[in-house]
Symmetry: C3
């Protein structure tokens, strides 16, 4: 719990409101309550500001008149959010062995595991050696965690989940605010990773926690090795994703999709249900129609590729040139 | 050991044959013996069925007449195979420290390692701290395993092998059968990873075990960091593979190949000896001729790429259009 | 310390000089001193040879006349360097717990960590469970190392550094010399990884140590998950790199760059300051002008991609053909 007075001082903001109000968390404008802080980076979300139930909002002075609650006026809203986010990150116990508060049912836990405070592990789970489960993690019945897995604080795993060696669940999202000198300021990610039932996660895959809300892996999903799933991604039920693929922040995948290996999906996209993306393709726009999609350069002999490449980078010029030529010829 | 009666009940199959026959493993039609189960997914392999020595075969009723042994008739052969595969997965000990049955020669083992049942470690090996070696693994002389390595059950490493931190050897293959409601059913992978002599494996690389037979990394191979090698891949002698590359299931690479970084090689391919694939290329068909291969989009200014991209996706239409225009002009 | 006599015998070289000279390390021609060994692979660097202060140089006999110091004449210089490099690799302690020589200030170290000989850890650091810190590592104040991190010998981390789970710092570079039978010989990498202040490293990222000099990550850099950074790469201040990206050996990135996810950057390149590379692009040449760069194949329906691909691999032939056609038509 921090007072608005403390917060204002920490982020060097001008407080318009009650300095004694206590804040215990951060949420979006729409989801925050009177004990939570929110922020608005620009006027696009003005409507959400006007109806927000937040205890306080960090904002630019131009939006003060639309703020229905306490306000923290700053020069750079996103940077101030980055700085204050660390106030609300929970500290971790990191004791050896199994914390006395953990509820282990008849799970089989290796002696070299670390099980944190308030962890709940369901019936018939197997937790391999050297696997780390941080505070406040909940794992459903019949989960199998291989050796050397890392489940970071607060994550929630369903029933029959299988996590392979080297996988990291709940790593920090890659969110950073840049100040006016070009320096990055890390955002503390306060959401969790929530994994449904019957999900498998491959070796050395990393799934980042959400910024304020959770990263979600729905039931029945299959995730292969060495995959990166960024903060606030949502993967729909029974979707399968092959190895080396990366999905950037806040993208939502539908149900029953099949994503090939080493596919890159950029952030903030919506991919509908029943989409197949072939291996190595790049998805850089929403997909609204089920079907099979591809986008790769065909393999050639290196020499042929060099010849093709020479013209490829001039394709727009070739098209224009030929069109002019054709017109001229036609005009003859 | 499971009887055919038990197996039939578990996968809900109609048994044609002797319910008391005992089965202790699964193998392909061609390799299975009278104590093993096999399966045939479609008529293409009918010849293998006719000559199979298997104790029982899971099949569709249309193939019953060609089955020379006990038969388990099911609606979905592959799904039934997925379900029964878990019957034959060996359970793991996961005790702390070094299991009394392990044969450690004069290897240097860190106190925080876990060494499973029946593990054999050769002379002069170094096993770094927190490295996990599951049951029935064999490691040849003079191997060096860095800290935080995971070697899963049954894998076989040759002499002078070097495995870097974070590498996972013997993770489950990404094989799943889909039921008629679109749900995935994991296949238990019963093969191992077999690594020859003088092989190096980079940091955070993952090598999956084979489905029924083994994934093979032949002697002298060099594998860099963050590489995915799927189930049943075979990498020929002295081939080198650079970082971030992924090789999908059942692909075979020849000898003395050099695969660049972040190359994607799709499944079920054959790449001959002495092939060089440049970084970032996609290999989506067999390569039968030694040589240098490339397939990437050249880097451009973003603006130029946008201009090129506009025409690129219409390249077939441009070609057709121009051909018509030329014909028309010629006809004038 | 090894004498030139011992070294000559080990690599089967003809020594021209004093067999009793003692050598304690390897460095480049320009940086080596009289106790160090150097090597020259071809005549391009003859000027560096002539002015070298090295105690001995491995070289081809054709360069003997230009050698100002002791010489080791061999048939294959690079291969001989690979073999002798292992002489100078430091052995690791790998004891359990915290080595008595380690200087831990008021850092919070989990009981399952391994902290090697002569490690120095600054004030207020947190070292998560099962994290391994090998000998001679130095970590600045206020660092946060998540669970299951591996920091290998001799690496240097600045203040306020955050290293996520599964990350490996100081893995061996992927440098190998090939003998005349096509077999690879590993080069022992003797440089370290040097990380500045305020750097964050993502989950399951691997950063290789340098061959002779160090791999450098400058202050303020942000590195996401599952990234490969090869030996001797230099990343300039405040540059941010998104997940799944790979940077090959000896490439230098400038300051304030933003590299998208799954970008591949080939080796020995120079990328200037203030460069943005969009996700999935390949950088295969120097970038000398700040700006935004892209090089990917646009996503299409699979059918459309097949149609485009047919013509794409013939783009050079299409261009040539159309030009001839146009000339012929013009000539009519």
């Amino acid at each position: 719990m921090h007072t608005l007075g403390e917060i204002a001082e920490f982020i060097n903001a001008k407080l318009v409101g009650d300095a004694s109000v206590k804040i215990n968390g951060i949420a979006s404008l729409q989801r925050s309550n009177s004990n939570q802080l929110s922020y608005i980076v620009n006027g696009k979300h003005k409507r959400d500001l006007i109806s927000s139930q937040a205890g306080v909002v960090i904002l630019d002075k131009s939006l003060l008149d639309d703020c229905p609650t306490n306000a923290l006026i700053v020069d750079d809203v996103y940077l101030s959010f980055a700085k204050i986010s660390h106030y609300f990150k929970k500290q971790i116990t990191h004791q050896a062995g199994i914390h006395p508060s953990a509820k282990i049912n008849n799970a089989k836990i290796s002696t070299t595991c670390v099980i944190g405070e308030n962890v709940i592990i369901g019936h018939d789970c197997v937790i391999g050696p050297n696997t780390i489960i941080e505070d406040n993690v909940t794992i459903g019945d019949n989960a199998y965690l291989y050796p050397n897995v890392t489940i970071l604080q607060g994550c929630l795993l369903g029933k029959n989940v299988v996590i392979s060696s080297g996988a990291v669940i709940g790593s920090e999202g890659f969110g950073n605010a840049r100040d006016n000198q070009g320096r990055w300021h890390t955002i503390a990610h306060l959401g969790n990773v929530v994994i449904g039932d019957n999900v498998t996660i491959g070796a050395n895959t990393a799934i980042d926690r959400g910024t304020l809300e959770d990263t979600e892996i729905h039931s029945g999903v299959r995730i292969d090795n060495l995959i990166h799933i960024a903060h606030n991604v949502i993967i729909g039920q029974d979707t399968a994703i092959a190895a080396n693929t990366g999905i950037a922040g806040s993208t939502t995948l539908g149900k029953h999709c099949m994503i090939g290996g080493m596919v890159g999906i950029v952030g903030h996209l919506n991919i509908c249900d029943d989409v197949v993306v072939n291996a190595k393709s790049t998805v850089d726009k929403d997909i609204k129609t089920p079907g099979v999609y591809t986008g790769i350069m065909p393999l050639m002999s290196h020499k042929q590729w060099q010849n093709v490449g020479l013209w490829l980078v001039k394709l727009d010029k070739i098209t224009k040139y030929l069109n002019i030529k054709l017109k001229n010829l036609k005009g003859k």
